[in-house]
């Protein structure tokens, strides 16, 4: 379990995350939703230590992340951010191999190679493993980066808007893979999403943030309710049940 305890972050004088405490349960997909500027990405960055929190602490399976070595932490929590700018030209396989860095320090042994193969296979990238990343489409690139995180083989996988700039087909593909990571491999996935319908259909729990605070935290059934969404987005959003999915029809509200 990841326990976030009273995290606070200021950018200059503006408080972007205000005293946030939230528990992220193991073996579930937890989606963070909320309007732009709610502090979701900042919170995720602090949990994964990309950003230092001004106050508060993060416990991973009851250990304070500040007391963990960077290398040990990188074997338990991985994060993928929105922008993936690089200085160098890499092939898909080289990128995925970087996921083994916490274990191998750049010298891959047989087991590392096996994990890399598995990750590439899992993301269906075998046919393009020798292609350079800049030759791939946005969706393929995103899959390559997720493969790197899979090769990193951490219990907790944090993803900051992984569906950005992806079309419907690739978005669905990636969400299905994340679902399989949780159901088949027992990983814990935390994901920042903008499309609440993806959150509704694929996640187990939803945490809603607004103005740097957590306003709702519960199971998907509890959050995907017109009343709760009204509180989060200030919009009247009707909800339709279609098969097993609860779809928010927000386009004309």
């Amino acid at each position: 379990m990841i326990q976030v305890r009273e995290l606070t972050k200021f950018y200059g004088k503006k408080q972007v995350v205000e005293n946030v405490s939230v528990d992220i349960q193991r073996g579930k997909i937890t989606s963070f939703i909320g309007p732009n500027g709610a502090g979701k990405s900042t919170l995720l960055s602090m949990v994964s230590r990309l950003l230092d929190a001004d106050t508060g602490e993060v416990l991973i399976d009851s250990t304070n992340t500040k007391k963990m070595k960077a290398n040990d932490l990188s074997k338990r929590v991985s994060i993928l951010k929105q922008s993936n700018y690089m200085d160098v030209r890499l092939t898909v396989r080289e990128l995925v191999s970087f996921g083994r860095f916490p274990y191998s320090k750049g010298r891959l042994n047989g087991e590392d190679e096996k994990m890399v193969d598995q990750a590439i296979g899992y993301m269906d990238l075998e046919s393009m493993e020798q292609s350079y990343l800049d030759e791939l489409s946005g969706g393929q690139r995103q899959r390559a980066f997720i493969a790197m995180v899979i090769a990193q083989d951490t219990d907790y996988v944090l993803l900051d808007e992984p569906l950005n700039n992806l079309d419907m087909k690739h978005s669905v593909q990636i969400m299905k893979i994340l679902r399989r990571l949780v159901d088949d491999l027992g990983k814990t996935v935390v994901i920042v999403l903008h499309d609440i319908n993806f959150a509704s259909v694929y996640s187990d729990r939803i945490v809603a943030m607004k103005n740097g605070r957590v306003v709702k935290d519960g199971t998907t059934e509890e959050i995907i309710q017109s009343a709760a969404l009204k509180e989060i987005y200030d919009m009247d959003i009707p909800i339709q049940q279609m098969d097993n999915c609860r779809i928010c029809v927000y386009f004309n509200s």
Partner: protein
């Protein structure tokens, strides 16, 4: 051609350049000419290693391939230090006369400056690269303006001493410093070489590096200090060479298709040995000392720099 073969080819060329410089036209003067040439070759190799290593590492930590560590203003700081010493203490003071003392003092000052630079720029989160360039240019100009001002006031005889250190020259390398430099360079590179894999990860950007468990802040700090010391050594040995590191680092990136620092560091080092030793031979034998290597390097480097700028702007 595979990287290994390219590397062997280049290493062969480097050895050939050294042999050519050492033995060409020696006329059996093994006692007199050979040791003198030997010291020069040795100094050039050390300079080449130091500059190549410093530049590749600096470009990785700044995520920019058209920067050299001299944007921090280290060259001008070196000149300022020499000018200040001569101005205030005189050319017969121990800090000028004793080259070892002078050397250690220069290194200490440059390391302190690099640490200040780090505090200013890297510590406060992700400052844009323009900021680094601007601050570096401002510092550089500031330092050289003070130096010029003091040099105008200085006694003409003393100014000779300053001028002596102002221009890069492989014709009169600081032979006394060769052994001290060797010790420094060997220890530094032995320590730094272990971090090559971490530097590879750094090329993925800060976020990815932190995600993969690299101690980003301490690595960047360490590597910045390393670059500063190596540049200090090269400057003390032969004087400031602005563009050299830029050329060899980028030639290595173009020549070797790899993301690995172990490849590019070795490549840049070997290329710089070829360029320095081979270039100096050309200067001595072909131009018969009518041109200096630093002028040629800055000329070729300048042209290459413009080419890189044009190429980068087109690829954006």
């Amino acid at each position: 051609m595979r990287n290994v073969h390219k590397m062997m080819l280049l290493a062969g060329l480097a050895v050939a350049a050294c042999a050519l410089y050492l033995f060409h036209d020696l006329n059996g003067s093994f006692d007199y000419a050979l040791p003198r040439r030997g010291v020069k070759v040795f100094a050039m190799v050390l300079t080449g290693v130091a500059i190549a290593y410093a530049t590749v590492v600096f470009q990785t930590i700044t995520h920019n391939r058209i920067l050299t560590p001299s944007v921090m203003g280290l060259d001008s700081l070196y000149m300022l230090l020499q000018t200040l010493l001569i101005f205030f203490l005189g050319s017969d003071h121990v800090t000028i006369l004793n080259k070892q003392v002078n050397f250690l003092l220069s290194i200490a000052v440059m390391v302190v400056f690099a640490l200040l630079f780090y505090r200013l720029l890297f510590k406060k989160g992700n400052q844009p690269i323009y900021f680094l360039l601007l601050i570096g240019i401002i510092f550089g100009t500031f330092f050289s303006s003070i130096s010029t001002f003091l040099q105008v006031l200085i006694d003409p005889n003393e100014f000779q001493m300053v001028q002596d250190r102002m221009f890069a020259s492989f014709n009169n390398v600081n032979a006394d410093l060769v052994w001290t430099s060797l010790a420094f360079v060997a220890v530094l590179i032995a320590v730094a070489w272990r971090h090559n894999a971490s530097l590879d990860v750094l090329s993925l950007g800060r976020d990815a590096a932190v995600n993969l468990g690299v101690n980003y802040d301490s690595l960047v700090k360490g590597m910045l200090v390393l670059s500063a010391v190596l540049i200090a050594i090269a400057t003390a040995l032969v004087g400031p060479i602005t563009f050299f590191g830029l050329i060899v680092a980028n030639l290595s990136y173009q020549f070797f298709k790899s993301y690995k620092h172990s490849v590019h560091l070795t490549g840049a080092i070997v290329i710089s040995i070829i360029a320095l030793v081979g270039g100096q031979w050309v200067v001595e034998r072909v131009f018969t000392f009518n041109a200096t290597l630093s002028v040629i390097i800055n000329f070729i480097g300048g042209v290459y720099f413009i080419y890189l700028l044009l190429k980068e702007s087109r690829s954006k």
